[in-house]
Symmetry: C2
Subunit: 257 residues, 2 copies
C-alpha cells in the first residue's frame, strides 16, 4: 500500500529538503521503492541528489499535461533514475514558479499534482514530496496529493511561531480538497542538546503534537550540510555520521507506523 508523504512547513530553512532527500535515501537503502518529488522551484532536492541541469520533462510539464495524457507510461518519462537503486526522482526547475500564473484560470488547479502521482502510485512503496517555504498553489497541490504530512520543525523560536498557521492550512485542506489528509508527525531538526532553546522548543512541540512527535530527533550535524555539495544523500556521503544514523532510524519509524 503506497504512502504519499509531504514535507511541509512555510517557515524557511527548517530542514524540508534535507529530510526529503535523506529519508528517501534511507527508505531506498531498506529496499523500499521510493519516488522523491521536488515541488520547490529552488530545486534543492533535485540538486541534493546530484542533478543540476533543467530536464526537458519535469514536474512542471507533467502538471500541465491534459488529463487524457496523464498515463503511467507518459509520467514515467518525467522520472529520473538516481545513483541508488530503489530511488527515483521527479525533478523540477525554476519554471515551476510560473505554474501559479499558468493555472489561475484552470479548473481543479489544486489537483494537478494528485492526478500525476496517482498514475504512478502503484509502482512505489513511498512517494515523498518536498515543498517550498510558502502556502501557495504549489503547497496546496502538495497537500491535496498527499496521504499525510511530515512537519520538520527547526529547534528555533521563529520556527515555532508559524505552526498554528500551518495546522490551520492543513485543516482547510482536510475540509476541502483532501479529507483523508493525516499528520504523519512532527520531526525535530537541527537539535543541539547543549542549548536551552532546543530543549524549550522540543518541549513546546511535544505539548502541541503529543504522540505525533517522531521519537527520532535530527541533531545539528555538519555532514548533513556538507553532503548536498557532493550531490549525495548523507548515507552515501558518510554512512557512520550521526545524520545518516538518525535518518535511518527515522525511516524505520516511518515504516513501522
Amino acid at each position: 500500500m503506497t504512502r504519499i508523504i509531504a514535507a511541509c512547513n512555510q517557515k524557511g530553512g527548517v530542514g524540508k529538503t534535507t529530510t526529503c532527500v535523506n529519508l528517501a535515501a534511507a527508505l531506498a537503502a531498506m529496499e523500499k521503492r521510493v519516488l522523491l518529488v521536488d515541488m520547490d522551484p529552488q530545486a534543492n532536492s533535485t540538486q541534493g541528489l546530484g542533478f543540476d541541469e533543467g530536464f526537458d520533462n519535469d514536474i512542471y510539464d507533467a502538471m500541465l499535461l491534459p488529463e487524457a495524457e496523464v498515463t503511467k507510461e507518459r509520467i514515467h518519462g518525467f522520472i529520473q533514475k538516481t545513483s541508488m537503486g530503489f530511488l527515483d526522482l521527479m525533478p523540477c526547475s525554476r519554471s515551476l514558479a510560473g505554474l501559479e500564473v499558468k493555472l489561475l484560470s484552470e479548473e481543479k488547479r489544486e489537483r494537478r499534482l494528485s492526478r500525476v502521482l496517482e498514475s504512478v502510485r502503484a509502482d512505489y512503496d513511498f512517494i515523498l514530496i518536498d515543498s517550498p517555504p510558502s502556502l501557495n498553489i504549489l503547497t496546496l497541490n502538495v497537500l491535496t496529493a498527499a496521504d499525510s504530512v511530515l512537519i520538520p520543525i527547526q529547534c528555533e523560536y521563529y520556527a515555532l511561531q508559524g505552526l498554528a498557521e500551518l495546522l490551520n492550512t492543513i485543516r482547510l485542506v482536510q475540509q476541502s480538497t483532501n479529507p483523508n489528509l493525516a499528520i504523519e508527525g512532527a520531526l525535530l531538526t537541527m537539535y543541539d542538546s547543549r542549548l536551552n532553546l532546543s530543549k524549550q522548543v522540543a518541549e513546546d512541540v511535544q505539548n502541541t503534537f503529543s504522540e505525533k512527535v517522531f521519537k527520532t530527533i535530527i541533531p545539528r550535524s555538519v555532514k548533513l550540510s556538507e553532503a548536498p555539495s557532493f550531490g549525495k544523500p548523507v548515507i552515501l556521503y558518510d554512512v557512520v555520521s550521526i545524520g545518516a544514523v538518525r535518518y535511518m532510524e527515522l525511516a524505520k519509524e516511518v515504516i513501522e507506523k
Copy 2:
C-alpha cells in the same frame, strides 16, 4: 537623504529577519531614525521586536488604501513605536498572504508599497524591509520600493544555489519597475570559522560579488537565535555578544557607504 534598503533572498532561513531586526536596532542605537517594514506574512520581524497580536492597521491595509488616501498623517497611523527610541515598526500579519489575490486585477499592483513608503520617507534616515522566502508579488513590491538590496547569504551549499535566480529577478526589476535599484551588498551569515563549508561559501560569494561583499561577517551565535524569544533585538538582549557586536559593525559599514 533617506535610504530604503530591502533584505531579500528567496532561500529560506538565511537570516533576512535576523538581519532586519538587528541592523535596524543597531542603526537606531546610533541615533539614526529607522523604520522597519515587515513584508513577510510570517510576521517574524514584528515578533522579533516583541509585538504579537494583529494590529487593526498594518502594512496590508496601508497597501490597499486608495491612492488619494495615502498621506503622511494617514500612514503614520499604521506605524508602531517600539521600546527603542529612533526605531519604529510597520507591522504585518498573516492577512498579508492574501494580498496577492486581492491585487491581481489592480493596476500598478507592484507599486503599492512604494507609494506607502514614499509618503513617510522624509521622516526617517533608514527604512529597512524584511521580505518573505519567495519571488512573488510581495517581493516584487519590496524590490520596486527599495533604493537598494541587502542579500543575506547563509554559509551553506543550498544558499549559494539560489543566487543566480535572485540576481536575475533584481535585473528584471531594474529593467521594469525600478531602474535605480542598486545592490547594497552581500552579507555572509551563520559563518562558522571551523567549517570548510563556510570558508568555501565565503570564497564563492567573494568571487560573485567582489567589492560588494560586506567586510562584516555574522558568525553563528546562540544569542542571536535566543533574542527573538524575548521579543528583543540582540543589542538589548546581550549587548556584549558577538552577534550584537557584529551587527553594530554592520551598521557602521552601512552608514559609511
